[in-house]
Amino acid sequence: MKYTFDFGALLGQGYPALIWGGLMTTLEMTLFAWLLAFVLGSVLAVLRMLNIRALNYVIAVYVAFHRNVPMLVHILLWYFGVGAIMPLFIEDVVNQIGGEFVYSTIAIGLVTAAYVSEDLRSAIRSIPRGQMEASRSLGLSYLQSMRKVILPQAFKISIPPLTNQTLLLFKNTSLAMAIGLIELTGAGREIESATFKTFEIYTVVTVLYLAISLLLMFVGAYLSKRVAYVTKTR
């Protein structure tokens, strides 16, 4: 193995700014896709609890489609496919923000929503029926009971699986580099092909990913511990 290490090469040519920009893009994507995934995932999980046959069927197909097709394929489908059949005025808006960013964020958010809805559904099902019956008999409507009684408890139970989904979502934003988005991985590749300092730049990117991933794992573990404590002492 012959290789000369030179981390200093990464400091010139505006490379630190490129990495910083990539990191910010990754974090922005994570945030927007996370919001989409958790809002849509919660809505789907609640809708499924209504037990309307046709609706259940539609949601089941949505979940199966998003779980069985690779995320990269969803990104390609949105970017190349849906992007091509969008009306012009929407395309203009999308292009102003950046097509790669918008379509990959939508794709990642929609796929993760399917997983989140399944995690929440199993958490909601694990809450005793008496909780819903009690809040209904106290005069709350179905949606009120869901929002004030059932969902808060379901979210607590599902903290560990939802932490895992958040972590996977964060890692999966790297797939957007396949359609040319300069997020963290994409920025790393750009600098690699410009400097050939492969080891150095991959190390920097890897450390950044690992640091954020470990932080997410830590926050998840802290939250579930804290919530368990609060529930117990009450």
Partner: protein, 231 residues
């Protein structure tokens, strides 16, 4: 969409073969099978490390599992792409890179599955084995692992489905698999991107729906069988 399928089904199924390397759906499934088979022994070793009382086994195994969990697969593929040639001294093909990266990556995930399988077994199994005069390693090999591995068959099959999906990343390093074939078709047609990629999505969907069905069948069959759990 039917027209695209009837014109290009061979490319989607086997790629350029027999005039070139095998590609398409066959390559996708093949990549997944080979990498998961290679990941299996690695997964067992990592799982044993993760439950080991010896720090020299526990810490490296735990570090590997956490690094894999914390790093995107695509970065992993790039690392292998860079490191493997340095290690073995000559250049490697995209297929080898993909298999090596997937085997390592899936090995860490299998390790966690196998570990939970081992930990779900009643403690009495190990104690009984030891009191019959078997060593720790022999008890592990002859009593614990056979039961733990049997009980985790459904989870490992689900991991196979994830692996099938992850082979799509081969597209990024130009491995001739299903996604790559679809991108080729898209580049030939140019005018029908939505239809081509919808077709690709439906192909994965059908394949994985069948595989999910198989997993459910196995689960059902095992439910009536001899699964051992902590009681």
């Amino acid at each position: 969409m039917w027209e695209i399928l009837s014109d290009n089904w061979l490319l989607l199924l086997v790629g350029q073969w027999p005039h070139g390397p095998v590609g398409g759906l066959v390559a996708t499934v093949g990549l997944a099978i080979v990498s998961l088979l290679l990941a299996f022994p690695l997964g067992i070793m990592l799982a044993l490390g993760r439950i080991s009382a010896h720090k020299i086994f526990f810490w490296p195994a735990t570090a590997v599992v956490y690094v894999v969990r914390g790093l995107p697969l695509i970065m992993f593929i790039f690392w292998v792409y860079f490191f493997l040639p340095l290690l073995i001294g000559n250049s490697v093909s995209g297929v080898v890179t993909m298999v090596a990266a997937l085997a390592l990556y899936e090995g860490a995930y299998l390790a966690e599955i196998i570990r939970s399988g081992i930990e779900a077994l009643p403690r009495g199994q190990m104690e009984a084995g030891r009191s019959l005069g078997l060593s720790h390693m022999r008890t592990m090999r002859k009593i614990i692992l056979p039961q733990a591995l049997y009980n985790t068959i459904p989870s490992m099959l689900s991991q196979f489905i994830s692996t099938v999906k992850e082979t799509s990343l081969g597209y990024v390093i130009s491995v001739h698999e299903l996604t790559f074939a679809a991108a080729q078709i898209n580049n030939m047609l140019l005018t029908k991107p939505f239809q081509v990629f919808a077709l690709l999505a439906l192909t994965y969907f059908t394949l994985n729906l069948i595989l999910t069905g198989v997993v459910k069948l196995v689960e059902k069959h095992m439910g009536s069988g001899q699964a051992v759990t902590a009681a």
